[in-house]
């Protein structure tokens, strides 16, 4: 049994160091506030209402500057929108196309279309935003250390700069942004959107909702993944027991 313990300790140690090492490289400047997200934990799911409100915030606020080029209208089924709703939403945008006579034109969007981008190319995005390109939001949550907490912190982190701090035009002070000077002006204001379900649109509420939506688009597979994972882990745990019992039986008559 002792070598087995040793083997597990060593394997465990390797896993632990694998876990600790990459994290320690990215210490956060200001500690992020932790929010209890609906999608946390092994059984967490996306709060549908929050994600749908978040989509509204994205559509009415974020998408003015940020692209979300890898997400398609059909994906919105994942936050509980019906096929008819998705069809209508997609049809509300014009998608560039080549017409039958070869000239450029537009057509109404389809559920299979990707979300439209606000700028035709990165150069246009940079030119309109003081040289900074607003990052694509398809997988923004995974692209930032701190994930959902970080996004929420940035959205709510616009505070008065320290006295005497010089802030160049086109830059804004944010408590949680590395270096504190961010190109994005404070994106959310109270009552900036009017929620159809009557939820009061505070900055905090809007930030939480849009973060939930961004979490969904970053990992649309999460709910299916966790469901499958629960089954597979339970099955394997059972299999470990059965295999170990078989091993005990096979080895029962060997002196070792």
């Amino acid at each position: 049994m002792r070598p087995f313990i040793l083997a597990s300790l060593l394997a465990g140690g390797l896993v632990a160091s694998a876990v600790v090492l990459p994290r320690s490289a990215q210490a956060q400047e200001t500690a992020l506030p932790h929010v209890n997200w609906s999608f946390e934990g092994p059984f967490g799911t996306y709060d549908r209402a929050a994600a749908q409100r978040g989509y509204q915030v994205y559509k009415e606020v974020c998408s003015a500057c940020h692209s979300m080029q890898y997400v398609h209208f059909r994906d919105l089924a994942g936050i509980g929108l019906s096929p008819a709703q998705i069809k209508a939403l997609a049809a509300s945008v014009d998608v560039p196309t080549i017409k039958a006579d070869g000239s450029a034109g537009t057509r109404p969007g389809l559920p299979s279309d990707a979300f439209p981008s606000p700028f035709p190319n990165p150069e246009a995005a940079a030119a309109a935003n003081n040289g900074a390109i607003p990052p694509d939001q398809s997988q923004l949550l995974d692209a930032r250390a701190g994930g959902a907490d970080y996004i929420y912190a940035i959205l709510t982190g616009y505070v008065k700069p320290p006295v005497g701090m010089h802030i160049a035009p086109g830059l804004y002070y944010n408590k949680y942004f590395p270096g504190h000077l961010i190109h994005m002006p404070q994106p959310l204001q109270a009552d900036q959107v009017t929620y159809a379900d009557g939820t009061k649109a505070t900055i905090d509420q809007e930030a939480k909702d849009v973060t939930t939506f961004l979490a969904f688009v970053s990992n649309p597979e999460m709910e299916a993944r966790k469901r499958m994972g629960v089954h597979i882990v339970l099955f394997l745990a059972l299999l470990v027991g059965v295999t170990y019992a078989a091993k005990r039986k096979v080895w029962a008559d060997v002196e070792h």
Binding site: A7, P22, A25, M228, T243, W251, V254
Partner: protein, 421 residues
């Protein structure tokens, strides 16, 4: 024809094939009745785990390659499409990406096993050296695979590592240009890395074949590190070790599944979810965890060429380990002085891993240099001397009779397993 193989199989179809191509006889000899020391502990699972993991990687990799586009403009998007649009594409990719981490954990434990129980010693030197070749191939494959998603860390990791070759005097810059297929990491680099990432696992498979073939000539080492004296020391591989390896395999898959389904992005750097941008260097370029100790060795030398030489030496030194270790005793169980030094080596490697994850500033530089010094000291100085001055504990007479100092043989009990064969 006199050349036909005499098959012992009863089934006419199997017999027909076996007389012409004795595959069944070979499998039976090498995997069913193969006499294996009966005293293996669970450390001896890890070779089997590694071979299964290679198959998992090849299977998922081939399926991913059907959807991946090795083009600098489309690679990132094709990975997004795998994650979002391909049926179970996310599952394939998470199994494959986290599979690299699991593969290295398994192989590192496997190597530790070899070092702790002296598996590299006469007559298993070649077996060990083939293992080091496998490690090098694995590292090259993992590195090139990490470049394929074409995120920021892919791009800049590739830039840093390929630039190492520019340290070679005179021809260095020509070599990097040749590796890149241009004057910087770009589309030609991605193309060839994809080709090589697809090729190398099959080379790995071949070398693992040689590794296993060599193993089946010498037979396995065991926790006591003494040779098998006769049938009373062994059990047939099947069912004894097929079932024991199955236990380890199930535990391994359980941990693996927990990562894949509940924390699949745990080992992934956030920067690699940003598309590659040659004009913007990430604040910190950190390799995957399994390369961190070697990265730390590289950066503990102030001279570029010196660092590169030392980093490659840290692996190459393993090739001559069988001759650096002058002790005739294999297992660390019977080497009271060797034992603490191995644990020091493991600590040094973990420390190096931690150092590799930090910017080379302040105390990290000093700590990295001390750990690097110990790493080489261990192999080049301590091991050769230890074998000369250490007084090993008395070895047991045989595996079947592990009690020290002789005594009466327990009546026939040890021979019993063979009756199952």
């Amino acid at each position: 024809m006199a050349g036909l193989h005499k098959s012992e199989f009863k089934n006419p179809v199997i017999r027909w094939v076996d007389t012409r191509l004795p595959l069944f006889t070979m499998m039976n000899k090498e995997y069913a009745v193969f006499p294996t020391p009966k005293n293996f502990n669970y450390f001896w699972n890890f070779g089997a785990l590694a071979s299964v993991q290679l198959i998992v990687m090849i299977a998922t990799g081939v399926l991913l390659a059907m959807h991946y586009v090795p083009n600098a403009h489309m690679a990132y998007g094709s990975v997004q499409s795998i994650m979002r649009d391909v049926n179970y594409g996310w599952l394939l990719r998470y199994i494959h990406a986290n599979g690299a981490t699991m593969f290295f954990i398994v192989v590192y434990v496997h190597i530790f096993r070899g070092i702790y129980y002296g598996s590299y010693k006469n007559p298993r030197e070649l077996l060990w050296m083939l293992g080091v070749v496998i490690l090098l191939l694995m590292m090259a494959t993992a590195f090139m695979g990490y470049v394929l998603p074409w995120g920021q860390m892919s791009f800049w990791g590739a830039t840093v590592i390929t630039n190492l070759f520019s340290a070679i005097p005179v021809v260095g810059n020509h070599i990097t240009t040749w590796l890149w297929g241009g004057f910087a990491v770009g589309n030609p680099t991605l193309n060839r890395f994809f080709a090589l990432h697809y090729l190398l696992p099959f080379v790995l498979l071949a070398v693992i074949g040689l590794h296993v073939a060599a193993l089946h000539v010498t037979g396995s080492n065991n926790p006591l590190g003494i040779e098998v004296k006769g049938p009373q020391d062994t059990v047939p591989f099947h069912p004894y070790y097929t079932v024991k390896d199955s236990v380890g395999l199930c535990v391994f898959f359980l941990i693996y599944a927990a990562v894949v389904f509940f924390a699949p992005r745990f080992f992934m750097a956030p920067d690699n979810f940003i598309p590659a941008n040659p004009l913007q260097t990430p604040p910190e370029i950190v390799p995957e965890w399994y390369f961190l100790p070697f990265y730390a060795i590289l950066r503990s030398v102030p001279n570029k060429l010196g660092g590169v030489v030392l980093m490659f030496s840290s692996i190459l030194v393993l090739f001559i380990l069988p001759w650096l270790d002058t002790s005739k005793v294999r297992s660390a169980r019977f080497r009271p002085m060797y034992r603490p030094f191995i644990f020091l080596l493991v600590i040094a490697l973990v420390v190096l891993g931690e150092v590799g994850a930090h910017k080379p500033e302040g105390n990290w530089v000093l700590i990295g240099r001390l750990a690097t010094t110990y790493y080489f000291l261990h192999f080049l100085v301590i091991l050769p001397i230890l074998g000369k001055i250490e007084k090993p504990l008395p070895l047991p007479e045989s595996i079947g009779k592990p009690v020290l100092g002789g005594g009466p043989v327990p009546g026939g009990a040890a021979a019993k397993p063979m009756e199952h064969a």
